[in-house]
């Protein structure tokens, strides 16, 4: 027995003045394949909200990675390319060089951006490619179901670090934002999260800022998101948000890492 009651919707009642929330028009109607509680859905929505607000749906090209967000192009109603694993920054570079007047972003996870694709990431940043990199760092390989990422925290348990990440043999988690901020050609590097309402609002501002900078031709911008992965962290969505707040953001400090004119 279901305790859900179907309430018929009267379209005459659903009037614009009563709408307090709706999805951005540049998100498709396809149901997301992401696990419940995953940060990807929120970041997808924020990014497309910004595209809507800047009215650049016809001027932006996205590059999807290999990883959980491999199907990002199913959800974002814009022209997109699907890159080989780790090569999104190379693909994005070329798209932007061919069409400097268009907006270009890559959307990449930690394995894609910081492991197999770190060379492409660093060199695109070092050339100051005038594009946005959206980096989702959830410290684990999601799509292949929970192996160690280059950003896995010390002592964190994954399927390939069953006794915890031993930094003596497995190295230290890479802080990509700090690493890229050292390069003279990077313009705006910021680390955000989406684990509560306040952070979501700040994160959206960061995405908007980065795309505004791209419009002005300022150069390479990256917005890193300290994400979560309830499924592979073996946590409930709520527990995973708590882990982001208590553990992840201790190592990956949220805030601007490099801003124009500042440090």
């Amino acid at each position: 027995m279901s305790n859900l009651v179907e309430v018929p919707v009267n379209p005459e009642v659903v009037q614009d003045q009563f709408v307090v929330y709706k999805k951005p028009k540049t998100l498709t109607d396809k149901p997301l394949h992401y696990c419940p509680g995953c940060a990807h859905g929120v970041v997808h929505k924020l990014l497309m909200e910004v595209v809507d607000e800047m009215d650049i749906q016809d001027k932006i090209i996205g590059v999807a990675p290999v990883g959980c967000s491999v199907f990002a192009y199913d959800y974002m109603n814009i022209d997109m390319q699907e890159a080989a694993h780790g090569r999104a920054c190379a693909v994005g570079t070329a798209i932007k060089r061919m069409m400097p007047d268009k907006f270009v972003f890559t959307y990449q996870g930690d394995g894609d951006l910081a492991a197999i694709g770190i060379a492409e990431t660093i060199h695109a940043a070092n050339r100051g490619e005038n594009m946005l990199v959206v980096f989702i760092n959830n410290a684990v390989y999601g799509m292949t179901s929970g192996q160690m990422a280059p950003t896995t925290l010390p002592d964190m348990v994954t399927t390939t670090t069953p006794f915890g990440r031993d930094v003596k043999t497995m190295g230290y988690p890479l802080r990509m934002s700090e690493l890229l901020a050292q390069l003279p050609a990077t313009y705006y590097i910021t680390r955000q999260s989406v684990h509560n309402a306040v952070s979501v609002r700040k994160a959206k501002k960061a995405l908007r800022q980065a795309l505004e900078y791209q419009k002005e031709g300022k150069g390479f911008c990256m917005v890193e998101f300290v994400g979560n992965c309830p499924s592979n962290w073996r946590m409930t969505p709520l527990e995973s948000q708590k882990f982001v707040e208590e553990k992840m953001t201790q190592y990956y400090v949220v805030g601007d890492v490099k801003v124009p004119g500042g440090k």
């Binding site: 932006i60 090209i61 192009y73 022209d79 390319q81 090569r87 570079t93 061919m98 492409e120 060199h123």
Partner: protein, 355 residues
């Protein structure tokens, strides 16, 4: 008649890339073809506004090529054997996403880091796949500097016609030698781009997605069937080859690129000695001109295949002729180049019993 110049193969190819209206070049220096990126760096951007970008690796260049080709632009990368090996994953993606573009391999000797001297040992890689999955490139094999120029234009035309990536399979000798060459006139860069290109979603049309990912097997099979249908059409319509002296030939020398050039000279030496030798020279090795070998086989006593490898194209020659005629092979490897006299001597030994 176009402009005539004396040019090095690599530089002639680079000049042709500018003249063909290329929008972008992405590459990484490697001997024996680094003159291409050097020439373009100096000449291209000022003349046509073409983007010339030195990437951080061949892995990056081929993926830049993917991105740029996905915008519908006319784009190219060049490299040599070890660099082309690094690109194979990306080439497979480009084939899967059905993006037109040009990849140039100025071959050197292998395996491994090998040598920087000319070789033809990437025939299997170029014609039989190279990367993963069921795909083909359209592969053109220049035998002189003129074809280094002509095949740039032809390569783009065929690639864009079928949305199949094209490869110019040259070698260190073609890249490094100087010859007289006739250049075609400058073709303007395009200002309009294909419907499928990701140039920003038009308000009134569906978004465009460039991908080689089709996760449902039913769909993936359909994609494969479409690719295979294109390959069958290419095999039927785009095979190119040259023949010489087949009319009265009792024997045929064959080879591609550098090998065919040596075969040609060996044929002349053979004719001087009164041997009735003809020549078949494939210009496309995918699609391979099986038919001309099949038709010729019953009329001759044997074929001598000359390649700067251990015998790769000869497998296709044997496949073409079956047991209709005898096929012998003469090759040098590791950057060594056969001389026509040795080819002739080998011919006399295996076919005429002359020691």
């Amino acid at each position: 008649m176009g402009e005539i110049r004396l040019m090095k193969g690599n530089e002639a190819l680079a000049e042709a890339l500018i003249r063909v209206g290329c929008d972008g070049y992405f590459g990484y220096p490697i001997t024996p073809q680094s003159e291409v990126i050097e020439y373009l760096s100096k000449e291209a951007t000022n003349r046509t506004g073409m983007v010339v970008l030195q990437a951080e690796s061949e892995v990056s260049s081929i993926n830049m090529l993917y991105g740029a080709a996905g915008t519908g632009r006319r784009v190219v990368t060049t490299s040599s054997s070890p660099g082309i090996s690094l690109m194979q994953e990306g080439i497979s993606y480009i084939a899967g996403a059905e993006l037109p573009c040009l990849v140039v391999n100025v071959m050197r000797g292998g395996p491994g880091l090998g040598t920087i001297q000319p070789s033809q040992s990437d025939y299997f890689q170029a014609t039989k796949g190279g990367g993963h999955g069921d795909y083909h490139l359209i592969v053109l094999t220049p035998y002189n500097v003129q074809e280094m120029v002509d095949f740039v234009k032809l390569g783009f035309e065929l690639s864009e016609k079928y949305r199949v990536p094209a490869m110019v399979l040259a070698d260190g000798a073609m890249g490094q030698m100087m010859e007289k060459v006739e250049l075609f006139d400058q073709i303007p860069r395009r200002t309009e781009f294909p419907e499928w290109a990701t140039t920003g979603k038009p308000h009134d049309k569906e978004r465009r997605i460039v991908t080689s990912l089709f996760i449902e097997p039913e769909v993936m099979e359909q994609v494969n069937l479409r690719l295979q249908a294109k390959y069958r059409q290419i095999e039927a319509e785009e095979t190119r080859f040259q023949t010489m002296n087949l009319e009265d030939a009792e024997y045929v020398f064959t080879g591609f690129g550098l090998g065919s050039r040596i075969a040609m000279k060996a044929m002349e030496l053979a004719r001087e000695k009164g041997y009735k030798v003809g020549l078949i020279r494939p210009q496309t090795v995918y699609p391979f001109p099986y038919a001309i070998y099949r038709e010729t086989a019953p009329k001759i006593k044997g074929i001598l295949d000359i390649e700067m490898n251990s015998g790769q194209m000869v497998e296709d020659v044997r496949l073409a002729v079956g047991d209709k005629t005898r096929v012998e092979f003469y090759g040098r490897m590791g950057g060594m180049i056969a001389d026509p006299e040795s080819v002739l001597k080998h011919f006399e030994k295996v076919y005429l019993g002359v020691e």
